[in-house]
């Protein structure tokens, strides 16, 4: 091949490669920009109106660093719904987002957002914690809030311009458990878990406690099998885990922690074949994904938390906090439902619609427990609680402390699958 020819072919290859990259990147950019459209909602602006009077800042620009795309099915989608909600109720708020940020690249994303004029930055992945703390150190005049970590000015291990926040589901998993224990026929429940960390273990345990309570009232014993995926996003693994739990272990209620509606869809396809298998919503209302199989589920509304933070910046009343929003937190106001303004819910975490298949008395019990947890009159982790090996973990009447809940590395009685080492 002549030199002339090879150079020409080299140029052609390079041109095509550059073209391909340009098209791909361009589409990616448009896709990222397309997520800015705010959803329209009706809302009584009691919160914002009271704070407007003390207004000092003219405008607040909030930047959001997301670990996944806004179009994912769980985590990031829920955060972006919260962002859109905050924007819709705070007329002085402007928001900017960066999606699908790798954990190592969080600082670059933060600097980009600061360059775009943001005065408060939200980072929404555990892996963003160190980077966010360093950025907070570097920019003392700006505000930062990190989701799902333990570093904040309030906790004393980070600068005062950093807050931490998280919405906690274990109480809702307990309520899910009540529903599961009331409908199971086989007495076997399955759990598809993402990664064996205290948060997920706590959720499994709370689910089992609820299921045992409801099943005991029916004179039934409960067995719970767990399948671990070792990933937050793994529809293929979730499908296999859910199917195996039903086929191999005879489970007829499937709870899960995974970022897609796959487990619920598996349950729904069994329902279509005439086999009663039930599952739940996770993070957002998935009842449409399983019209027959959907029992209830845990839903988060980050909206009130984001409104709280941006209002602090707007009113110049910032105080570093370490928020662990549970049932009953963020309740002073009635918050309009994001997708259906007719339905009102309370707080940052709430329960998905209850399937009518759940008996009347258990629905009443779920409502009662919800009210009790709201007022701190009931705690699912109250002794006597034994672990799966029979050791007493909580003595009679003893309530689990924050530390016990945060560091949970044992399963309660009723779980048949030992924790991975």
């Amino acid at each position: 091949m002549s030199l002339e020819k090879s150079r020409r072919s080299f140029l052609r290859d390079t041109a095509f490669a550059l073209g391909g990259i340009a098209v791909g990147a361009g589409l990616g950019y448009i896709a990222a920009g397309g997520g800015q459209a705010p959803t329209t909602q009706t809302f009584t602006k009691t919160v914002t109106q009271t704070t407007t009077q003390a207004a000092a800042e003219k405008k607040v620009v909030a930047g959001f660093v997301y670990v996944g795309p806004v179009s994912d099915y769980g985590w990031t989608h829920a955060h972006d719904a919260g962002r859109a909600y905050a924007k819709s109720v705070c007329p002085w708020l402007e928001t900017k987002i960066v999606e699908s940020v790798e954990e190592a690249k969080v600082q670059g994303a933060i600097e980009t957002l600061i360059g775009q004029g943001c005065n408060i930055i939200f980072t929404t992945s555990f892996g963003f914690m160190e980077g966010t703390a360093e950025a907070a150190q570097k920019h003392p005049d700006l505000y930062f809030a990190h989701c799902s970590g333990y570093k904040s000015g309030a906790a004393g291990n980070a600068p005062q311009n950093l807050s931490a926040y998280f919405a906690e589901f274990y109480q809702l998993y307990y309520l899910n458990g009540l529903a599961a224990g009331a409908v199971t026929e086989t007495g076997v429940l399955g759990y598809v878990g993402a990664i064996p960390i205290p948060e997920v273990i706590r959720h499994i345990n709370a689910f089992v406690l609820g299921a045992r309570e409801a099943a005991k009232a029916r004179g039934k014993n409960i067995k719970v099998y767990v399948q671990w995926l070792n990933a937050w996003f793994d529809p293929e693994g979730a499908n296999k885990a859910a199917t195996s739990l039903v086929e191999n272990n005879n489970a007829d209620v499937l709870a899960f922690t995974e970022d897609t509606p796959t487990v619920l869809q598996v349950a729904e396809s069994y329902q279509k074949k005439g086999k009663k298998v039930w599952s739940f919503s996770h993070y957002s209302d998935m009842s449409k994904e399983g019209p027959n199989a959907h029992l209830t589920g845990q839903i988060v509304n980050w909206g009130p938390i984001y409104v709280d933070f941006v209002t602090q910046v707007y009113a110049k009343s910032w105080k570093s906090v370490d928020i662990w929003a549970r049932v009953g937190d963020y309740m002073p106001y009635k918050w309009a439902n994001l997708s259906n303004p007719k339905v009102e819910y309370e707080g940052a975490v709430y329960l998905a619609p209850l399937n009518p298949v759940i008996p009347e008395n258990v629905r009443a019990l779920i409502a009662l427990r919800w009210q009790q947890m709201k007022e701190m009159l009931f705690e699912p982790f109250t002794g006597p609680i034994k672990d799966m090996d029979g050791n007493v973990r909580l003595k009679d009447g003893e309530r689990a402390t924050h530390d016990i809940l945060w560091n949970m590395d044992w399963h309660v009685e009723g779980v048949e699958t030992p924790l991975p080492k």
């Binding site: 490669a17 391909g20 806004v70 179009s71 671990w228 293929e236 191999n248 869809q265 449409k288």
Partner: protein, 316 residues
């Protein structure tokens, strides 16, 4: 902790059901890529083609409710995208690896862009229902797994035979293979090298699109980013694993499908000696292993289409 008691036959049946689900998705894409590569064109865009096909079939199935039209839409989506690859690598004679990678980026980016409002609106479809094959579905283990699946899975079985027949028993197949082995010789015998390669690349792309339809209409009936999860790359490796032969692809795809079920199966029976993480890496580990074993020169000379990845220029 003692092991969890489960009936061995139940375990095996579950494994096979899941193996056929995952294996069939891989199989259709592998068949498509085999057909393309046999003509000498390397198309690394499989991942992008599957993704774009999945989205197209989802949209069309949502709008029409007809799975056949949806599957045809997926096939034409894969075909159109692979025509870009064909044009660049056959007509413009550009580097096929680079072009294929660009197709992957393009397919994933395009799907993400077009699919965004769909993902945000959370529309859903009902997955295809299984059709039981009379008599055959009564066989233990094999029956419920291979013969109680949705129609697209049965299509994948048929395609194995059809492609094998086309490649080895028809004149067109002979032409296609000779174009992949020695295009200038084929050309001198009066075979239209460019047309043959265009046809092979388009048919291969269409099959990859159908693989996407099987994925989303069959087992994961909602749209979100990352739904293909690297299956396209495994299909590319499976082509080598199956020595560019549709019949071997059948076994290769189900073998990989079976390996993918080990994690859930071992957890079902409480076997914990091997950690979960190992099983997550196993398909990729196998892929690398396959590439190492099958890239020995002796094997390549015998099995790989001799002019794979080489653009053909007609000498005047």
């Amino acid at each position: 902790m003692e092991a969890i008691k489960v009936d061995p036959l139940t375990i095996l049946t579950t494994m096979f059901i899941l193996m056929v689900q995952e294996g069939s998705i891989l199989l259709v894409a592998t068949l498509g890529e085999i057909f393309t590569e046999r003509s000498g064109i390397l198309n690394l865009g499989v991942e992008g083609l599957i993704c774009f096909g999945a989205l197209s079939s989802f949209i069309v199935y949502y709008l029409t409710g007809n799975w056949i039209i949806a599957t045809l839409a997926a096939a034409s989506a894969g075909l159109m995208l692979s025509l870009i690859h064909a044009f660049v690598s056959i007509t413009l004679k550009a580097n096929q690896t680079v072009s294929g990678l660009a197709i992957t980026i393009l397919g994933l980016g395009l799907s993400s862009f077009i699919g965004r409002p769909i993902a945000l609106s959370r529309i859903r479809i009902d997955p295809l229902e299984s059709v039981r094959v009379p008599l055959l579905s009564e066989i233990p283990v094999i029956g419920p797994s291979f013969f109680n699946q949705n129609p697209l899975v049965y299509f994948s079985y048929i395609m194995v035979i059809v492609l094998w027949f086309i490649l080895y028993k028809t004149r067109f197949g002979l032409n296609l293979r000779s174009v992949g082995e020695n295009p200038s010789m084929a050309d001198s015998l009066g075979i239209n090298v460019f047309l043959t390669r265009y046809v092979a690349t388009s048919v291969g792309g269409a099959l990859c699109g159908i693989s996407g339809a099987l994925l989303i209409l069959g087992y994961y009936p909602s749209w979100y980013d990352g739904i293909t999860a690297g299956r396209g790359w495994i299909a590319v490796a499976l082509v080598i694993f199956s020595s560019w032969n549709p019949l071997y692809a059948f076994f290769g795809a189900y073998f990989f499908g079976l390996v993918g079920t080990l994690n859930a199966t071992f957890q079902s029976i409480g076997f914990r000696a091997i950690p979960t993480d190992f099983f997550r890496t196993l398909p990729y580990l196998l892929t690398i292993l396959v590439l190492i074993i099958f890239s020995s020169t002796r094997f390549r000379r015998r099995k790989m289409p001799a002019s794979l990845g080489k653009p053909y220029t007609r000498e005047l």
